[in-house]
Symmetry: C2
Subunit: 368 residues, 2 copies
């Protein structure tokens, strides 16, 4: 059976790693996109020590409230309509304000003084060029929001924080620091700042400011290009596994699977595994892709290459490294402790975030 196993203890461990790295900052734990595919309901109990959670849509925010999350919820793209702004007020959601219409909704419909929606995350575009006001727009918006009674958190987002020496990082930091100082000087010293995503938390510890916004790091993947998850002492929160459903030996020169893209050099023992891209394993992987097969009999594990094209419902693996006694039903780890999802992503030409998010509803879900 295809199974996604979530490990809340690993999540709590990773959250503690973040807190140790950013001891002076509050933590907005990102749970958008169904907690990076892990399942919001599965992760919230392990995030009790976070100061808030971040989501991308109002639907996600309301789901978290329904699940009993009572602390801060930050809506990181803000309300999409005036009606959503009203719903945010109704459910005490703190919103990002990143463009003119959102600013007008906020000024025309001011939440009660006690409401969490009175805390607004004002987005400054320092170089990502997706969301946010320019410097002049931020100053003007901050002034108006402050006068209307909002508590403000100036926020921006790194475009290249995974690559420490990328020249844009210094520019974004400089712009952010400068505008935050101006806001504090000219409007209110209580205005807070939030700059760092996971990569920023690791690479720019001197710029953590009041709130950090960890995402992928919580789930146990490395957010930076030059350090692995292991080097950062992160534990994988998800294990994705399946089972061997058939064994066979293919003859030398025989091809396997669609496109006949893999051809046996010699007689090769192979196993069919009940998982494919219809579950979320990526269809296009390099020849380096492998899985770990667990032998129930002797508790050994074996590294087995994925051979042939990944299909919708199955993959074939080379089990030459495993003993002849390997049984049907043996567990196959697609990602987890080995390989880490970061490795699989590397074999698929993408990042772990995408693999985690693009899981289908087919795998069974459980917790360890």
């Amino acid at each position: 059976m295809r199974t996604i196993t979530i490990k809340p203890k690993a999540l709590t461990h990773n959250l503690n790693q973040v807190k140790q790295r950013a001891p002076q900052s509050k933590v907005l734990a990102m749970v958008k996109s169904n907690a990076y595919g892990h399942g919001v309901a599965a992760v919230l109990p392990a995030l009790q020590q976070a100061d808030g959670i971040g989501v991308a849509t109002l639907t996600e925010a309301l789901e978290a409230r329904q699940l009993g999350w009572e602390k801060t919820i930050g809506l990181v793209e803000g309300a999409f309509t005036a009606d959503e702004w009203q719903q945010a007020i109704d459910h005490e959601i703190s919103c990002v304000i990143h463009h003119g219409p959102q600013l007008e909704w906020a000024l025309q419909n001011i939440p009660p003084a006690s409401s969490a929606t009175r805390v607004a995350w004002l987005k400054y575009n320092t170089g990502m060029n997706r969301l946010g006001f320019n410097a002049e727009g931020v100053l003007s918006a901050a002034k108006r929001l402050h006068e209307a009674g909002y508590q403000l958190i100036l926020a921006t987002h790194f475009a290249n924080a995974d690559d420490h020496d990328h020249p844009l990082n210094a520019m974004q930091i400089e712009r952010f620091s400068s505008v935050l100082a101006t806001l504090k000087d000219t409007i209110s010293p209580d205005i807070q700042g939030s700059l760092c995503n996971s990569a920023g938390i690791v690479n720019f510890p001197e710029y953590h400011y009041d709130w950090v916004r960890p995402g992928i790091i919580l789930y146990g993947s490395s957010p930076v290009v030059d350090k692995s998850a292991q080097e950062l002492d992160l534990q994988p929160v998800m294990e994705f596994s399946a089972q061997i459903i058939a064994l066979q030996t293919v003859s030398a020169k025989d091809a396997i699977g669609y496109g006949s893209r893999w051809r046996a050099q010699q007689d090769t023992r192979t196993a069919l595994v009940s998982v494919g891209y219809g579950d979320g394993y990526p269809r296009v992987v390099t020849d380096d892709a492998y899985v770990t097969v667990m032998d129930a009999n002797d508790s050994q594990s074996y590294r087995c290459p994925v051979i042939g094209r990944v299909a919708m419902d199955m993959i074939v693996i080379d089990i030459s490294s495993a003993p002849e006694s390997l049984a049907i039903d043996s567990k196959v780890m697609l990602w987890g402790d080995a390989p880490r999802v970061d490795e699989v992503a590397g074999h698929a030409g993408t990042i772990s975030y995408e693999l985690l998010c693009r899981l289908s509803i087919r795998p069974n879900r459980t917790q360890a």
Copy 2:
């Protein structure tokens, strides 16, 4: 709002295309992997004229029974355990038998004569080298199953049917035809045959045999390399759309998004769209990737390139081709009539099947 809209009429149209192409054959409509991501519950009503449906797991089979599907259900990898075999009997599921253990379960636990499980799909490995017995094994298994009272359908699967002239096709056809003739001669003339998936239905009309097994063609994508969905008169069953949530103009030389991989050649009007890989849009697309923006005011539509890296929750598009009056909230078609999902898959280095299957649970789902 991210929205997946399913069009049952398009599905029925595509099913009729299959029936016209294979008028002498029964149709096993593939609905595995949640009906290629379309949702089993959404598609079953439009498949009433199919003779059966095909699924990959027992869970999928039981879901279809629960939804009221009373005709044939074919379990295309068969039972994974002896217990699953018993459940298949309990719910009248017809199973593929592709290796020794499944054969033994079938011989040791024979369903009642009236049961649909007495129809067994015996898998012959003609060159795909994933599932199936070799020629000798098929003859022996067929003899034993026939003697035990099973009605048999000999089945195999093309590895390269999308590419009409691939040399393996002729070899697979030859092996299949030959063994089927032998089975009919030596065991029973009532043994049926099933060879063609979607690509086989299009490319090998002379070998449709008793059952065809259409999959992707039902959902409106082309299964072959040399003909588009339009050329095959297929209609897209899924429309995947989102909305513009912000508008801005980026200055010449400014970069957009993660990795700063897109840089404006000139001042450029852009729009932020509320969709990303967290919904199932592929993260890595070529510079040819585009979406269609609908202008609610004048019912016009505009082809707009995707620029910068696709993020988890948003993409940025170049809206230079659209008028200045383009409003926030405008609908953005990721795939549907234009672009077709086949085009998007081409821009992402994969096939439409994968994009359809790897949608996350975040998008809202509806029917047209």
